[in-house]
Symmetry: C2
Subunit: 323 residues, 2 copies
């Protein structure tokens, strides 16, 4: 910076003003400084700036696992949105223990300006965790809470769409293959399912539960089949994939004997066999809203926001009329 200042014949402070786009700089001076910066290949030193200003221009992302395709998609959306806002993104994975507090600890050590928590088991994002680290937070897919921003997909609405579609096809019973009990998204999808059933005057069966993996979907499907299910709403696409295999191996056909709907609209879903009817989540919108909420909070002290991103049903070939 001193070199740039010397070359442009100004003080370091003026260089700083140019870098930070201060209006208090004569256009001609600005041009001179900019020329000097590019001649010298000057790059502001982030650590020094962070030391001075107390801001690192970095946000953290806490995610339990990237094995789930949905999480990966979200990560990408968040990374892109953060970059667009001029923030770096650092990713912290939860260990096997799923220790959210430890993750916050690590982020706080690093001095991020804020963090986004993905889809984490609800009860784990505790006030104590926040206090300890003192981080500004936006949580994705979590119950509304005034202590931090919340951005969610309209899981329940999406689930209702799926169930209504099946009912519209004449199914008189819709089984649900739910996600893990600790997940907010899973609970919401389950709620949408049972509400849609109630509205149609249909009884809800006990749900069968998986852990988001296709293997768990396959394992759970036998229980569903034993109950004579003709329509299954799975809480995500990967579990639906497991169901598809289980149905085929039981000698039944989809959608002739059993209709299946998923959730997420993962890239591969269109090439499942048969192509999967599913509820599409708008991951990109979710990611950019989350980043926007966080950055607005950091930069403008905006109060904790709450936003819901709508879904839509994508009908393919895994659903058909009831026999």
């Amino acid at each position: 910076m001193a070199d740039v200042a010397a070359r442009a014949g100004v003080s370091g402070q003026t260089v700083s003003r140019v870098v930070n786009a201060s209006p208090r700089v004569d256009p001609e001076t600005r041009a001179r400084v900019e020329a000097a910066m590019s001649d010298l290949g000057y790059r502001p030193h982030r650590a020094a700036r962070a030391l001075r200003t107390g801001r690192t221009q970095t946000i953290g992302l806490v995610v339990s696992t990237l094995a789930s395709v949905g999480n990966s998609r979200m990560l990408q959306a968040v990374a892109d949105a953060a970059a667009a806002r001029g923030y770096a993104l650092t990713v912290v994975t939860l260990g096997a223990g799923g220790d959210v507090a430890a993750a916050f600890e690590r982020l706080a050590d690093q001095g991020v300006d804020g963090a986004i928590v993905l889809n984490e088991a609800t009860e784990r994002v505790r006030e104590s965790d926040l206090r300890g680290a003192g981080l500004r937070l936006v949580v994705v897919d979590s119950p509304r809470d005034d202590r931090f921003g919340v951005v969610e997909t309209d899981h329940a609405g999406g689930a209702r769409l799926a169930v209504a579609h099946l009912i519209g096809l004449g199914h008189r019973m819709v089984h649900h293959l739910a996600g893990p009990q600790t997940s907010f998204a899973a609970a919401e999808r389950e709620r949408g399912w049972s509400e849609a059933l109630a509205e149609a005057g249909m009884p809800a069966r006990a749900v069968v539960r998986g852990d988001w993996t296709s293997a768990s979907g396959f394992a759970a499907a036998s229980a569903l089949l034993a109950e004579g299910a003709t329509a299954v709403f799975a809480a995500n696409d990967q579990m639906a994939l497991g169901v598809l295999r289980a149905v085929a191996e039981a000698g039944r056909v989809v959608p002739g004997d059993v209709s299946v709907v998923g959730f997420d609209d993962v890239a591969d879903a269109a090439d499942y066999r048969p192509p999967l009817t599913t509820v599409r989540q708008d991951f990109d919108a979710l990611g950019s809203r989350a980043v926007a909420a966080l950055v607005d909070g950091i930069e403008a002290g905006a109060p904790a926001a709450f936003e819901t991103v709508p879904t839509r049903l994508v009908v393919r070939e895994s659903t058909g009329a009831a026999r």
Copy 2:
């Protein structure tokens, strides 16, 4: 830090020595300082340290997209390995343009100590890019190059395993559904395929090419079927999924009429229909080797390493004897 020093009755420098595990500290003093640190909830300020030492303890990861399941798995492995070594990980996604230079630029701005480049189109990681940013680099799945560390999966070896398996089942022709031309991994898998064919004295057909997505696999499969393929080695699992669907829609059965092998052993592959025979990549090993190579380079000035991680064939139900 000053507060900690005061409370422990020592100078700031001694606190620094305790934090940095210097041996030159009396055990009793150390204990006093540690007590003071924990009483006060002291946390070293990374930006200040970075300013002083010139190291940020942060590494960057450059990845084109996370839509591919393999990339996501790698990201997680890298994140965990970096955390274990005490480094933060910041992720940079390539824009639609795939501009590697811009990605390095962003990482250099952030002052990372080094970067890992995932599976990037070979020719894009150019010397010019490196020069500009002056970053220490480890590239995953790229041709050997002394300018940076390289860690790769044994793609060719894995491909040979797959082809040999098919030949062993009596197939007299093995078609290949290759990945994009720009990808090193794709080229290596293709090389393994053609070498295995040559060794068996079998002619290689022209490959059909996809872009790693299941949709491209589905589209490409019709050409393969038109040629009367009985055995297809797809360059990744997702494309294999597309092939599986195409075969079924053509009224043929896997593996009765056509055997299919994938590459990666993605979590879902075991629940494709039928469960997919595939080549397993050890993403965790790959990630931790890449991080180890990079961090050793940063901390110990170790020379650029070159490592190959072996694969193994996982036989499931998508392959069977030739008719």
